[in-house]
């Protein structure tokens, strides 16, 4: 039997770029067909040219850096608060009874619904932008930490009580490690949420720098190529971050359950 000389990894990469190539081809065809509705749509080549300009423009990298920093700060605050709040509600039925209804009601309000209030209260500042991002991360991390803590197997708790583990030691040695896979899922969802509200934060609460700002600026100048370049940047960066977090989550889970076939 002949062996294909393409490695699994190469196959994976080819598979991943096949669709974007087809997509770009259709995009180009669409423009060549000359539909009236496509008259403002720049060609893929024009967007590529825009990227070439952007890569040599220090504002572009600065926009990316500012956005990443903004997400990281907001995400960090949201993670910390969500972890503590989720742990508290998971550990104490009383805390759950007091806070859960309020929490679930508040979380029904989409982030964009808060914007007018937040702008009126805080003005167009960095604080409300970071606040929005942290709240977005806060919800999934709270929920997943809570359910992780609640679902610690009874058997482990029993074992801990046989060995006299109580209070903080119990939390540190049993509850948090047992809840870790669920917490990790919450963190990766939280990061995705932070990243997706970044645009809301940057476009609605105007700011000098950020990828959202770049997109908004493109709109103001009717520079559609700049807008599309901004969207692609958001997608690629967000996807890279998701991949990174997934790697971390997998590493955490591997620490939990090492697959037997390894």
């Amino acid at each position: 039997m002949k062996k294909l000389l393409i490695s699994k990894k190469t196959k994976g990469i080819l598979g991943a770029i096949a669709f974007p190539i087809v997509f770009i081809a259709f995009w180009q065809l669409f423009i060549l067909a000359g539909f009236p509705s496509a008259r403002f749509l720049p060609s893929p080549y024009k967007v590529l040219q825009k990227f070439v300009i952007l890569f040599s423009d220090p504002t572009y990298s600065h926009n990316i850096a500012v956005s990443l920093q903004r997400v990281m700060i907001g995400f960090f605050i949201g993670t910390l608060a969500g972890f503590i709040f989720g742990l508290l509600m998971g550990l104490s039925k009383t805390a759950e009874k007091i806070f859960a209804p309020f929490f679930h009601a508040v979380r029904q309000v989409p982030m964009i619904g808060w914007i007018p209030l937040i702008i009126m209260l805080f003005g167009m500042n960095e604080l409300p932008r970071v606040l929005i991002i942290s709240v977005a991360a806060f919800y999934p991390i709270t929920l997943n930490t809570f359910s992780g803590v609640r679902n610690v197997p009874r058997e482990y708790l029993e074992l801990a009580s046989v060995y006299g583990y109580k209070g903080l030691t119990l939390i540190r040695k049993i509850i948090i490690p047992a809840a870790l896979p669920s917490i990790a899922t919450g963190i990766s969802l939280g990061l995705a949420m932070s990243w997706s509200v970044l645009m809301v934060a940057e476009i609605f609460i105007q700011t000098a720098f950020g990828i959202g700002t770049q997109i908004q600026r493109g709109r103001d100048r009717f520079d559609i190529a700049l807008v599309i370049a901004g969207i692609i940047t958001v997608g690629v960066l967000g996807y890279s971050m998701t991949l990174l977090v997934q790697k971390i989550v997998k590493a955490v889970e591997r620490g939990q359950v090492i697959s037997a076939d390894k």
């Binding site: 482990y156 029993e158 046989v162 060995y163 697959s259 390894k262």
Partner: protein
Amino acid sequence: MSNNKGTLEIRNLSKSFIVDNSPLQILNNINLTVTSGSFVSIVGSSGCGKTTLLRIILGLENHYDGEALMDGKQIVGPGTNRGIVFQDHRLLPWLTVGENVAFGLDKLNRKEKKLLVDEHLQLVGLIGFESVYPSQLSGGMAQRVAIARALANKPEMLLLDEPLGALDALTRMYMQKELERLWQLEKITMIMVTHDIEEAIYLSDKVVIMSSRPGIIKQIIDVSSSRPRDRASSEFMQIKAEILEEFHLGTEYTFAYAI
């Protein structure tokens, strides 16, 4: 142990659970004496309260009537003088084998911990497996780690809740020999709950037979045959028949005369 530790005295013990707002009696007037260094098995069908009895001895069930005395003191909660091996090995998946064995040794320093972990892994024949994770072990190995964890605390009494119930038949027989070896080596009291009558006869000085609803002790059978015991010996078979009779599972010898 030569110091006569590890004795158990249960007097007029009864236990009820509240089910749908009415009490359901699980154990009724249990009386049992376990001497230091003996091996006692509790057998009975599902729901006879044998696991509840073991949980009371372990200290996980604190509300009961009557007395449960460990070395003369009323049992009010878990303690380091009693170790436990559950049916599921209950090793923590995020800890290595070594860390699992050291789970009950939190108060010791690293050096003391390592010494005890090595000693007990050696004891169960798993030296060299310290840094392996539980999911990489077979069922029998995992259960041996669980035994090492229970013994590392140097308990005076080891409680075994169907410890071999989840293992295949051959591993199970091998582990029965292992348990006997450990019991003879450590010279501590062992109380085992099991479904397996042969296992109980093979290992025990005393087989406690319970029946259900509410759980009572029906009969206590002394097994005094010399060790290691031969499962095929007539003495072994006779004790087995006697126990099966208690469960109304004795053979009616109809076919024996049919020839």
